[in-house]
């Protein structure tokens, strides 16, 4: 349990600055970021999106 809490703390420590930046981002930049992540997943990692 203590190990789990330590891992969670580490993840929170790493993710927190990114999350803070994300929250402060303008809507348009968020849109572009979401699109870039999706392009990265599809082109870089070969993820297939079904419809």
């Amino acid at each position: 349990m203590r190990e789990f809490a330590r891992v969670a703390d580490t993840i929170r420590g790493v993710a927190s600055p990114f999350a803070r930046r994300w929250v402060a981002l303008e809507t348009d930049y968020k849109s572009v970021t979401v699109a870039c992540v999706l392009v990265g997943l599809v082109v870089g990692f070969g993820v297939q999106v079904p419809w």
Binding site: A19, E26, T27, D28, S31, V34, Q48, W51
Partner: protein
């Protein structure tokens, strides 16, 4: 696309995530619901079903308070979907249609802007700043343009509400009327897309109506509307300069602080992402499988965005629009819509 308010209280990212997640989940459930309903309603496009589902949730069941923050994120999904649409277009096609699109957009936006300004001030005696907000909203990109111009001319809050409500009213009406007119008159896809792109108001409804007509019409509508949206910075800075000069006198430097930064602040940044993806797609990096996946991704994002768009159409709010602003926009809109349809049909029909 709206901006983050500087007055918002500071909030921990984790709290914000928890506040946003239920609303995003509601959007996702409604989007999947619309997608499942699509085969049962073959006459109606899935994007319009999504708008109706969102409208129903907000007006029939009343949007729950816990979902409000998350539902607002639909603007992020709309922008992301528009960026991804760039994967389906090529530079060749943009260059081929660029001059045509830009000239149509500049002509129609200019005529609408001047028409609403003249009609408001001369015929209806509407306050100058409200007239400018209505002109910006109807000629460029709906509520985003109103907010951008309101900031640059220091408009009063009630004028912003009047103008935004009027534009939202027209968004709701055109969302229903344009697809019917398109089908009744059997307007070709490219003409319909450009017509929606130059004459309708907000980006969301333009894209929804375009894709409701056909895939090609959706692409033309988006392309045309994006070109129109890029004018927002110029119009906002133009208005700011005009009102600053009027306030301070023509020879004072009221406009000295208006420069590239102000233009960029008001520029819809997702247009840059869209252009980047067009270049990427044209470079041959993307395979047919990639393009298909990205098309599916933007279809899902559009579904999320249009459910959210539907929730923004509130009957109670629309009732608050004053009669004079509605009449001004109605007169100009009807004239511009009919003239642009006739001209576009004559040129490309």
């Amino acid at each position: 696309m709206s901006e983050q308010s500087p007055d918002e209280p500071t909030e921990q990212p984790a709290d914000r995530g928890a506040a946003v997640a239920p609303g995003v989940a509601l959007l996702a459930v409604c989007a999947v619901g619309a997608w499942l309903l699509d085969p049962l309603l073959p006459v109606v496009d899935v994007l319009l079903i999504a708008v109706v589902v969102g409208f129903g949730v907000a007006n029939v069941f009343e949007l729950p308070t816990w979902a409000e923050r998350g539902v607002e994120t639909h603007k992020v999904f709309l922008g992301a979907a528009i960026v991804l649409m760039g994967a389906s277009l090529s530079v060749d096609r943009l260059v081929e249609s660029g001059a045509l699109v830009v000239s149509s957009v500049v002509c129609v936006s200019g005529v609408t802007l001047v028409g609403v300004e003249l009609c408001s001030r001369r015929l209806f005696g509407i306050d100058d700043k409200l007239a400018s907000l209505l002109a910006a909203g109807s000629s460029i990109c709906g509520v985003s343009a109103i907010v951008a111009v309101a900031g640059s001319i220091r408009a009063r809050d009630e004028h912003v509400v009047y103008a935004a409500t009027t534009i939202l009213l027209f968004d709701a009406v055109t969302l229903l009327v344009y697809p019917v007119v398109g089908n009744l008159l059997a307007i070709p896809s490219d003409v319909f897309g450009m017509w929606a792109g130059v004459s309708m108001f907000s980006t969301g409804p333009v894209v929804a109506v375009g894709f409701a007509h056909s895939e090609t019409a959706g692409q033309w509508a988006t392309l045309t509307k994006l070109a129109r949206n890029t004018l927002i910075g110029l119009v906002a800075v133009g208005y700011a300069t005009y009102y600053a000069r009027r306030r301070l006198g023509a020879d004072r430097d009221g406009s000295s602080s208006l420069g590239f930064r102000q233009l960029w602040d008001r520029f819809p940044k997702y247009v840059v992402g869209f252009a980047g993806l067009v270049v990427l797609a044209s470079s041959g990096v993307l395979t047919a499988g990639h393009v298909q996946s990205l098309e599916n991704a933007y279809n899902w994002l559009f579904l999320l965005a249009f459910v959210g768009l539907g929730t923004e159409i509130r009957i109670a709010k629309l009732r608050r629009a004053g009669v004079a602003p509605v009449l001004v926009v109605l007169c100009t809109f009807c004239a511009v819509s009919v003239i642009s349809l006739v001209v576009l049909s004559a040129l490309f029909g």
